[in-house]
């Protein structure tokens, strides 16, 4: 536990030791704002809620989250510091979890800095703040899912660009797997059980229902276990790489 916290603190501190954190947060907020207000036509919609804002999250995360996760392990491998980390008495799970949590907290911080959105809707009207809270929760969980996928893929390579591209592709598959486009394509030839399975993997469907204010325990379990599975994969990949 101590070791996990030490890794977590170092990793989180690492974001702020370089301009990376600042640049990321600025881009994150800028993208969130411009998508919501210009593309989403927020003012024209006349709704005093944040559903338009949240609807863009999966698509923005698709590119922004792999930008965080790509360096998690690939960077350590490139600089050689992984040799240091793995020869310190740190249990593998502590290294994997500490790094992941640091990235997640960082993403959460960026998300929290969108609070002016929340202030604005409350100023303009009287939204259901419970639904908004649910939206933030769902968004945070989804970010965790993307990050866990990105962490595992980052462990597989020492090239951050490859890690980024792979993460975007895999995250994209997880995002769209519930869209009619995909379901129609698959249901043409696959058995119904497989179609349902594929659809159930979709971030989009689950996130949508959370944003609508329905926090289903199954959706929570889905995101948490998705994170768990990908982090386990991450640990296995790191361990396998020790064989050389």
């Amino acid at each position: 536990m101590n070791e996990m916290l030490a890794v977590f603190r170092r990793e989180l501190g690492g974001y702020f030791a370089t301009p990376l954190a600042f640049v990321f947060i600025v881009i994150f907020l800028f993208a969130m704002g411009s998508f919501t207000f210009y593309l989403g036509g927020y003012f024209e919609s006349g709704n005093a809620d944040l559903s338009i804002f949240f609807n863009f999250h999966p698509w923005l995360y698709l590119f922004l989250i792999p930008a965080i996760s790509m360096r998690l392990w690939a960077e350590e491998r490139r600089t050689g510091s992984i040799e240091l980390l793995l020869t310190l008495p740190v249990p593998l799970w502590a290294a994997v979890l500490g790094k992941f949590l640091a990235a997640w907290v960082f993403a959460g911080l960026a998300l929290a800095l969108t609070f002016p959105m929340w202030l604005t809707v409350n100023y303009l009207g009287s939204p259901d703040n419970g639904v908004i809270l649910a939206g933030y929760t769902g968004s945070f969980l989804m970010a965790g899912g993307y990050l866990a996928i990105g962490a595992a893929l980052s462990a597989a390579t020492k090239n951050q660009v490859i890690a980024f591209v792979l993460s975007v592709v895999v995250c994209f598959l997880f995002t769209v797997s519930g869209l009619p486009l995909v379901i129609d394509f698959v249901s043409g030839w696959a058995p119904q059980a497989l179609v349902n399975t594929i659809a159930s993997f979709s971030f989009l469907n689950r996130f949508q229902s959370i944003v609508n204010g329905v926090i289903d325990l199954r959706d929570l379990i889905y995101f948490i276990s998705l994170i768990g599975v990908w982090l386990a994969a991450c640990a296995i990949i790191v361990d396998m790489k020790k064989a050389g």
Binding site: N2, E3, L5, A6, V7, R9, R10, G13, G14, A17, T18, T79, G80, S81, I82, E83, L84, L86, T87, L88, P89, V90, P91, K242, A243, G244
Partner: protein, 364 residues
């Protein structure tokens, strides 16, 4: 083994300003393994990368009080062996025990007992040495006063004061190496493994680090790799030469020197004006098998090899000095050679030729 492990009976690690947690675990190490047993035991270690064998059946052990020097040409497998000993790479075959803990099955316990300076001294580039050492202290379960003390003494030992708050990636190569050294010795580990610890250091720092290793040696088992052969004589109690993954020599610096062609050869430095005459007379000295002549401007150095190579023959020096006295030569230097490590190294590690020559001999 040569360091008489018995001389340091369960002295434990009472040396330390370590945190209570570390002391507790160190006590476990010493009671787990027999106190006189070696701290590092490596048996039949093999590492293959695909079809290529980087480390081929390497076995050795290091006891408390020993400083083992790892020598070998580039790509010999020194770093790979160290990476396996510290749990970074999984061996293809063989086993490694550190303080009695199997590095594969009890990785964390073994790693708690090890201080490791990896090749190239990797660190987190955006951190400052201060922040980095704090991080290491936290991982090593040192806290509060113990951590402060450990960090301060590591900083003092490696003379890092000036750069403490400068990001590591802006440090010069030598300072980066020192940060790596500070990190390795921070928790006062019983086992210290350092991959080229003096590479990139200035002469003062090299001296300093050798002194540091010498001072720590009594209480630890230390393994260093190096390409600097004088270092072997200066700090190692034992040296191991490895070539293409195999151990080709293992012994004290003295034993390695004894394998040199120059061991017990007699060198005499004379004025070059005497060279021609001296060459003839020296060749005729009783017991001389061959003479090597090196001309350096006004001086000429003759090296006389005895008939029986390497065998101690003090009479040769006597013969030569008698000749010098008879002739009334002005001698600039006259000494018996202890042997030349670079020559032994070259002979043992150069290509198949010497390898093929020594192997049948060793088998016979």
């Amino acid at each position: 083994m040569r360091a008489e492990p018995g001389a340091y009976p369960a002295a434990g690690d009472g040396t330390g300003n370590e945190g209570s947690g570390v002391i507790a675990s160190t006590v476990v190490h010493t009671s787990d393994s027999s106190p006189a047993g070696p701290l590092i035991e490596i048996h039949n270690l093999v590492k293959r990368f695909g079809p290529f064998t980087a480390v081929d059946r390497v076995s050795f052990s290091v006891a408390r009080g020993e400083v083992l020097g790892f020598l070998g040409p580039n790509g010999a497998g020194k770093s790979t062996t160290m990476k396996m000993a510290t749990g970074f790479l999984t061996p293809s075959e063989g086993d490694i025990r550190v303080c009695g803990f199997d590095v594969q099955s009890r990785r964390l316990s073994a790693q708690r007992a090890i201080g490791y300076l990896p090749e190239g001294a990797p660190a987190y580039p955006e951190m400052t040495p201060r922040g980095f050492l704090r991080f290491i202290a936290r991982i090593r379960r040192l806290s509060g006063q113990d951590a402060d003390q450990a960090i301060t003494s590591a900083i003092n030992a490696t003379e890092l004061e000036q750069v403490l708050d400068q990001p590591i990636d802006t440090l010069s190569k030598g300072y980066r190496r020192r940060v790596g050294l500070a990190q390795a010795i921070l928790h006062n580990p019983p086992v210290l493994i350092m991959d080229e610890p003096t590479d990139g250091l200035d002469p003062n720092q090299k001296y300093q680090v050798r002194e540091l290793i010498g001072a720590m040696a009594r209480h630890k088992a230390i393994v260093i790799s190096t390409h600097i052969l004088e270092e072997v004589d200066a700090i190692c109690t034992r040296a191991l030469i490895i070539d293409r993954g195999r151990i080709v020599a293992d012994g004290t610096p003295g034993e390695l020197l004894a394998r040199s062609r120059y061991h017990n050869a007699v060198s005499i430095t004379l004025d070059t004006s005497l060279a021609e005459q001296a060459a003839l007379l020296l060749r005729a000295v009783h017991g001389v098998a061959a003479v090597e002549e090196i001309r350096r401007g006004p001086e000429t150095i003759f090296t006389l090899f005895t008939t029986v190579q390497g065998e101690a023959d003090t009479t040769l020096v006597d013969h030569v000095s008698r000749l010098v006295r008879e002739r009334g030569w002005q001698v600039r230097a006259l000494y018996r050679e202890p042997g030349r490590l670079d020559e032994v190294f070259r002979r043992l590690t150069r290509g198949d030729r010497s390898g093929q020559q020594t192997k049948p001999g060793a088998a016979a």
